[in-house]
């Protein structure tokens, strides 16, 4: 019922006069009048070609550097989940892993192909393992890990692996913040692996959670079904052709869902571990940019449109305008 309101007010509802005092800065005036200098990038052919060329010229070397860095990383993969099962059980691996009476100890010999510089990181890799499953994540309780108390540790499980002989560091493999803030100092895994769930090793119930670094590492949820977890760091160089002997306990049941287990030894450089993708992606993008710049150069040579020439607008392009209008209407 808008009719009424001002019905008879001739005074005028919104007649506040805008008086701009000279004190107000010019910039503010320009702002309110939408007159601020605007930068409208004008995509002239030269610029477009230059932009793409520049992108290509920058990206390809960056990609090369990344690839190079990735190349320099020495990585050794050793799949052990099948080898560690005795021949007699090969057909029924699940029975093997579930049978607690059988010793799960396993010895792997790994030959170092290339000189590996310390620190060498030892990971275990799991495949086809949905640590990111919603049920898995929901069953985790940060509160419980920090405060213990009445919360029950449930399904956190992990494989156990041993290593000796070489100087290794089993400390500081987990994130500092995790150790210090996320896992309780006074919480002891008294209930671990006592339930119906099997698989994985045991935790020493006398060590507080904050020092159970293997558990902490395990508990940092992996984003993808194939993931690596840090086990330890070898703090001395390994020479080429050296053979190291790894003793591990093949405790964890990945057989029932067909997961693979691998042992990974890798060095690290400034960019991190082996990662060819980044370098390749950079190079591909760079290559594409150069291709585009060539394409634009060709277009410009073959079909030059004098910029700022209005013959290309209005009447000449009625049809496009119609098309565009159509577009706007979605």
């Amino acid at each position: 019922m808008e009719m009424e309101a001002g019905s008879t007010s001739s005074s005028g509802g919104g007649t506040q006069t805008h008086s701009y005092s000279p004190l107000r800065s010019k910039a503010f005036y320009k702002f309110t009048q939408q007159n601020l200098p605007a930068c409208k990038p004008n995509l002239t052919p030269t610029r477009v070609i230059a932009i793409f060329l520049l992108a290509g010229v920058v990206f390809i070397p960056v990609g090369l550097i990344c690839l190079r860095a990735s190349e320099s990383v020495v990585e050794i993969l050793d799949r052990y989940d099948i080898e560690c099962v005795p021949e007699s059980y090969r057909n029924n691996k699940v029975a093997y892993i579930k049978d607690s009476s059988i010793s799960k100890n396993c010895k792997r010999l790994i030959k170092i192909q290339k000189h590996m510089k310390a620190p060498i990181y030892v990971y275990y890799e799991l495949d086809n393992y949905y640590q990111n499953h919603r049920r898995y994540i929901k069953s985790r309780s940060d509160k419980q890990l920090l405060h213990g108390l009445e919360y029950k540790d449930t399904s956190s499980c992990r494989p156990e692996e041993y290593n000796n002989e070489i100087r290794i560091n089993r400390r500081n493999i987990a994130w500092k913040s995790d150790r210090e803030h996320k896992f309780g100092r006074n919480v002891y895994p008294f209930n671990f692996q006592n339930g119906s769930l099997i698989g994985g090793g045991n935790l020493d119930p006398d060590v507080p959670l904050s020092e159970q670094e293997d558990l902490i590492v395990w508990m940092r949820t992996a984003a993808l079904p194939k993931f690596r977890k840090l086990y330890c760091v070898i703090e001395e160089d390994l020479q080429a052709d050296e053979i190291i002997e790894v003793h591990l306990v093949n405790n964890y049941n990945t057989y029932s869902f067909g997961g693979k287990k691998k042992l990974v030894l890798t060095t690290k450089n400034w960019l991190g571990a082996k990662n060819d993708f980044l370098g390749i992606a950079y190079m591909a993008t760079g290559g594409f940019c150069i291709f585009l710049s060539i394409l634009f150069a060709l277009i410009h040579v073959k079909n030059p449109r004098p910029h700022g020439d209005p013959t290309y607008s209005y009447g000449n392009r009625k049809s496009t305008t119609a098309f565009v209008l159509h577009q706007i209407v979605w």
């Binding site: 008879t8 007010s9 939408q34 960019l271 585009l292 565009v324």
Partner: protein, 1159 residues
């Protein structure tokens, strides 16, 4: 109590008037009061006893008026309901309630918080707007009026305190606070003048007249013991009817609309009136008439809903995919995933019943992928629109320098609609014109006087001159006229080859308002030296005598101001005064004129006895006055529409006919309002014969009275002798022609809907270049079919149908591409044309015409026409008007614009945008509309883009989690992503995006048709950069801060940036790569498009960039003219037509010269 306002004579107009006061001055015995029975006629008003109406059964409301949407109690439920009418909000409400169940993939907080934020913000906005309405109501309600407090004492009271039955005294130029019954006025015979501008937009004053019996109540003291009872109809919205009986002193008198003073009309020319309140508050006729202002939704908003539906479909689709995936995974994978406790089944994880699990997962997925639907879209759009509206409000170019009124975006949700307008429906009076007449030219005795030129002439001649002087490539760039004429515009004399010289002169600020006549042959008494001085004398006397105005001495100047019924009349009187015939006094029977034949003589006061006054009405289209001059000669002086007058000339009265018609056409062509003047000398006996007949007709009672009066008038108004013609310029508002021209170039159609009569409307059409000579006018009218009974109604309809079909045929058969048609239709015809069976034909005809003018339309019809256009063409309509009569149309149109002029504020209150002058419409549409549309469109695209991009990553990730419904992002990231992090860059786009500057928008009106199309990532402002980078910075700051918080809250994100991501070069290099790589395809796309197929604005950008416009003025101008849409209306079209005409003439001349040379 000074009666009659000082020196003002108390006149008994009823004696003089013929038609207006149709009631006979004596109450006849056989006058039957209405028999008021049955439903609809139950209202009883006890005059002067307002107390009776406070309790039952007559518990009528007070005069309190409320226009708010909500009150304190209804606000919450109503506003919440409004909010959840939006699809997206409803969806999020559902999601939020589901988030309390275990199905939800997110924590309940992260679902509820953004919804509450978004809905809360919108509701706060609603509340604020309603509060403003409330304050407005308070202002109106607390206005004061003089009211009878008992015992003959009057005192001021607030409007809202007025009750039915109160006696109020309204003084001159005050508004009536409620619907009143007129009891008496300062005039002896109870007449008063009312301006109904706010009701129907008509500017001529209406005469209202009280009952004879209440005439005595013209004194405060008289109301001491006054009581009476009114029985009348119940409140209804019908403005022009009223049925009731007035019971006073044991007598019953019938009431009719002439005694009713409606709220929102204004008392004029009358010192005071007394009235009794009949309808109060929402019972008022005006209030009853007011339609609930519909909540308007912009087109984009509607489309947004559509997109949201599409997204919903998409959402359901990917949810289905993922729940099928989940069911499969659960069935085949789950039993083997011992670490997930497959033995502990629940309804969500049940390997043995994957279908059920799949179903529950579907719910989860629907919530999970909800990020496809931007929750903050509506709120962001609202924020952007409010900011855009502030820009509109702040625009100094739309601020009226004189009044200081800025443009106002009153509802901000229609900003971008301004950029899509297709048809403009405009009111005329007060919108296009200032309703101020300017006497410009006249033709007396076949000679045309007056050298001043109308705007149209100036432009046409100027242009022809520039073309003739060699700069011929300059095609019709009207822009330049205005640029030049805006500056110094001297006088230039251009000689056409036929020897005619035409003075082009920009009239200097006219010394006298309403008078810009310039011709030394007539002014300063020089007219006496002209050959036909006698005819001239008659001409001037007709101007000074033939009217119904009242002079009021103006103390300041010592002269007179005239209270005329129409502005034309005022202009004539002022013109007469300037010529030396000053109308100075009116008595009951005489008009006194001070005649001064030369500036050196003293004025001579002459008395003319007014014998009869046959006043103007729209049917007669003429006005006559019969006077006896000092010599005793009886003269009938007549002025009227030229078509009517020319029909009534006597044989010997046609001496000047040919020349006068020629002049009349010229004037009409120049956009002037014309009127022909004629006279007749009456013999004494002839007059007295006629007068007896006339008196008899005047006292007849019954329906035939009017026809009879007309017949009698016709008898005397014949055998006239033509004196001449006048041409008055209805001053258009400043810049109206230019504005219409620009709007036409921008491809907009303009319809004029006016309550004025057809001639006036057509003249205005000419003046503002909507019509021009040579345009085919299609007039739809049933005026000649006479009074309509039930039977003839059908005939009338058929008649109109044939007219429409004929006209359509004519348009179809027209071959000339330059031919333009104009449709002119009057209100009565419109009634039929708007009926269901005719309206489609009517609309298709109207759409084919270059301009459409509807005259004599009621407010309701205005709204109906608007609806017809809106629904029939499916395009955006904009209605612009200034009076209360435009409210319906303003509310009906997609965009309503109110002119915040001098008149009431209803139009403004009902409008979506208010501007102080019509000319600002150009900037509002072409600049702000263009920008707003482009900005909003881009913003919406951007919004959906970002949400789809974000939502899809969640979907992709699902494939890696066994479709379990785990989201890859932390709950709080997602919440902030949608609500805050990504809003700022988008909002900055919506507020600051500017493809071309405002000057370019104005110079290339055709850009208006272009609209937005591309997501062009041009960071226009430093501010934009600030917002974008600010939001990136916010993201990192958030990561740090979030990482600092307790690990219980942050979960996996605990210290993620500082410890893990920050030091890792791989993170940064990946970020860089992704950012750039994602932009490359788009950059490539726009580069391609630009290289091969540039858009208009891009070309303009380039021209501007290379500064070509500075270097190559010529090209710039040519382009500007090319950029116009080919128009058939508007100034440019008119100038073009004129040029074509002149060229033809020139060629003919050349060829005839050739022929002569050969012979």
């Amino acid at each position: 109590m000074a009666r009659g306002g000082g020196s003002q004579e108390r006149l008994r107009w009823s004696k003089l008037y013929t038609f207006a006061c149709t009631r006979p001055s004596v109450l006849l015995d056989d006058e039957q009061p209405h028999s008021l029975q049955g439903p609809g006629y139950s209202r009883i008003v006890h005059c002067n006893q307002p107390g009776l109406h406070r309790k039952k059964p007559l518990n009528y409301p007070t005069n309190f008026v409320s226009t708010t949407k909500y009150n304190i109690i209804t606000f919450l439920p109503k506003a919440i309901f409004e909010q959840f009418r939006r699809v997206a909000n409803l969806y999020f409400l559902l999601a939020a309630s589901l988030s309390l169940t275990p199905v939800a993939p997110f924590s309940a907080m992260s679902m509820i918080a953004p919804l509450a934020f978004v809905v809360g913000l919108s509701m706060a906005k609603e509340a604020l707007e309603d509060w403003q309405r409330f304050m407005q109501d308070v202002k109106v309600n607390s206005r004061k009026v003089n009211i009878h407090k008992g015992e003959g004492c009057f005192g001021y009271k607030h409007w809202q305190k007025i009750r039915v039955g109160d006696i109020v005294k309204v003084e001159k130029d005050q508004f009536f606070p409620a619907d009143l019954l007129l009891l008496s006025s300062s005039y002896e015979d109870g007449i008063c003048y009312v301006e109904t501008m706010n009701l129907d937009g008509e500017t001529n004053l209406k005469v209202k007249r009280s009952l004879e019996v209440t005439l005595a109540l013209d004194d405060d003291a008289a109301f001491r013991n006054f009581t009476a009872t009114i029985r009348c109809e119940d409140p209804n919205p019908n403005l022009y009817s009223f049925i009731g009986n007035f019971e006073y002193e044991q007598q019953v008198y019938a009431l009719d609309p002439t005694q009713i003073l409606l709220r929102d009309s204004k008392l004029r020319n009358t010192t005071y009136v007394y009235g009794v309140v009949i309808f109060t508050g929402h019972d008022n006729k005006v209030m009853q008439n007011a339609t609930q202002s519909p909540s308007k939704r912009s087109r984009i908003e509607k489309k947004m809903d559509k997109i949201i539906y599409i997204l919903f479909t998409f959402l359901v689709l990917i949810s289905l995919i993922s729940s099928i995936g989940y069911a499969v995974m659960t069935k085949f994978g789950m039993p083997h995933w011992w670490y997930l406790h497959p033995d502990e089944t629940s309804y969500i994880y049940n390997a043995s019943n994957p279908a059920l699990s799949g179903f529950f997962h579907l719910v989860t997925a629907l919530i999970l992928y909800g990020y496809l639907i931007p929750i903050s879209l509506y709120v962001s759009i609202e924020v952007v629109k409010v900011l855009q509206a502030t820009f509109i409000n702040q625009d100094l170019h739309m601020c009226d320098g004189e009044t200081g009124n800025p443009a106002q975006a009153r509802t901000s949700n229609l900003n971008e609609e301004l950029g899509q307008v297709d048809t403009i429906l405009s009111d005329k009076t007060g919108t296009l014109t200032c309703n101020q007449m300017d006497f410009l030219k006249c033709s007396i005795a076949g000679v045309s006087y007056g050298v001043g030129s109308s705007e149209v002439e100036i432009a046409a001649v100027k242009h022809f001159a520039s073309e003739a002087s060699g700069t011929s490539e300059q095609q019709s760039s009207t822009q330049d006229f205005w640029e030049d004429s805006g500056g110094r515009f001297g006088s230039s004399e251009i000689e056409f080859e036929n020897g005619n010289s035409c003075m082009v002169e920009k009239p200097q600020k006219p010394a006298k308002k309403s008078f810009s006549f310039e011709d030394d042959r007539l002014t300063h008494g020089n007219w006496k030296k002209e050959p036909n001085a006698g005819t001239m004398l008659l001409f001037f006397r007709t101007l000074a005598l033939c009217h119904a105005a009242i002079p009021e001495p103006n103390e300041k100047t010592g002269g007179f101001t005239y209270e005329a019924e129409s502005p034309d009349e005022g202009a004539f009187l002022i013109a007469a005064r300037e010529f030396g015939f000053e109308f100075c006094k009116r008595t009951q029977s005489s008009v006194f004129i001070r005649e001064r034949y030369s500036p050196f003589e003293d004025p001579l006061e002459r008395e003319f006895k007014v014998l009869n006054l046959l006043e103007f009405n729209s049917k007669r289209k003429r006005m006559s006055v019969i006077v006896r001059d000092e010599t005793g000669q009886i003269l009938l002086l007549c002025k009227g529409a030229d078509s009517i007058i020319l029909d009534k000339l006597s044989k010997n009265g046609r001496i000047y006919e040919r020349e006068t018609i020629k002049h009349l056409n010229e004037y009409g062509e120049a956009g002037l309002r014309t009127m022909a003047l004629a006279y007749r000398v009456l013999g004494e006996s002839e007059y007295s014969d006629w007068n007896t007949k006339f008196l008899k007709a005047k006292t007849t009672i019954g329906p035939d009275r009017e026809t009879e009066l007309e017949q009698v008038s016709d008898m005397i108004e014949r055998d006239l002798i033509l004196v001449g013609a006048t041409a008055v310029e209805d001053k258009l508002q400043k810049g109206v022609s230019q504005c219409i021209d620009k709007l036409a170039q921008a491809g907009l159609k303009i319809w004029v809907l006016t309550g004025d009569k057809m001639e006036t409307a057509i003249n205005i059409g000419f003046a503002c270049s909507l019509l021009r000579q040579g345009m085919r006018q299609i007039c739809l009218s049933i005026e000649n079919t006479g009074i309509l009974s039930q039977d003839t109604e059908k005939d009338a309809k058929e008649n109109i149908l044939t007219q429409i079909t004929n006209a359509s045929q004519m348009i179809k058969l027209e071959k000339d591409p330059n031919a333009a048609f104009a449709l002119i239709i009057d209100g009565k015809t419109l009634t039929y044309a708007l009926e269901d069976d005719l309206k489609n034909q009517f609309l298709s005809l109207a759409v084919d015409c270059a301009s459409v003018i509807c005259c004599r339309v009621s407010p309701k019809q205005k709204a109906l026409v608007t609806r017809l256009v809106k629904e029939g063409t499916g395009k955006t309509t904009l209605a612009i008007g200034d009076g209360a009569n435009d409210v319906g149309m303003i509310q009906e149109a997609d965009v309503g614009v109110g002119i915040s002029g001098v008149e009431g504020m209803q139009a403004v209150m009902a409008s979506d945008f208010s501007i102080s002058q019509f000319r600002f419409l150009e900037r509002l549409l072409v600049v702000h509309g263009h920008w707003c549309y482009k900005r909003i469109a881009q913003m919406v695209c951007y919004f959906f883009y970002k949400n789809i991009a974000f939502g899809l990553t969640i979907f992709y990730f699902e494939a890696y989690t066994g479709f379990s419904g785990q989201s890859v992002y932390d709950d709080w990231y997602m919440l902030l992503f949608n609500v805050i992090l990504t809003s700022l860059p988008v909002i900055s786009l919506g507020v600051f995006e500017q493809d071309v500057s405002s000057e370019v928008c104005l110079q290339f009106p055709a850009l208006y048709q272009q609209g937005p199309r591309n997501l062009f990532f041009d960071w226009h402002f430093a501010l934009r950069l600030l917002f974008v980078w600010g939001s990136v910075a916010t993201w990192y700051l958030f990561l740090v801060a979030y990482g600092m918080s307790s690990p219980l809250i942050s979960g996996n994100a605990y210290q993620i940036l500082l410890e893990a991501l920050g030091p890792a070069p791989v993170y940064w290099s990946a970020t860089l790569l992704v950012t750039l790589a994602c932009n490359i395809p788009y950059l490539a796309h726009i580069s391609f498009q630009r290289a091969l197929n540039p858009l208009d604005h891009q070309v303009i950008q380039e021209i501007k960039y290379y500064k070509k416009d500075v270097e190559d003025q010529h090209m710039w101008k040519r382009e500007r003219s090319k950029a116009r849409q080919k128009t058939k209306i508007g100034f440019t079209a008119r100038v073009d037509a004129k040029i074509r005409q002149l060229r033809e003439k020139f060629q003919r001349k050349v060829s005839s010269v050739n022929v002569q040379a050969q012979s």
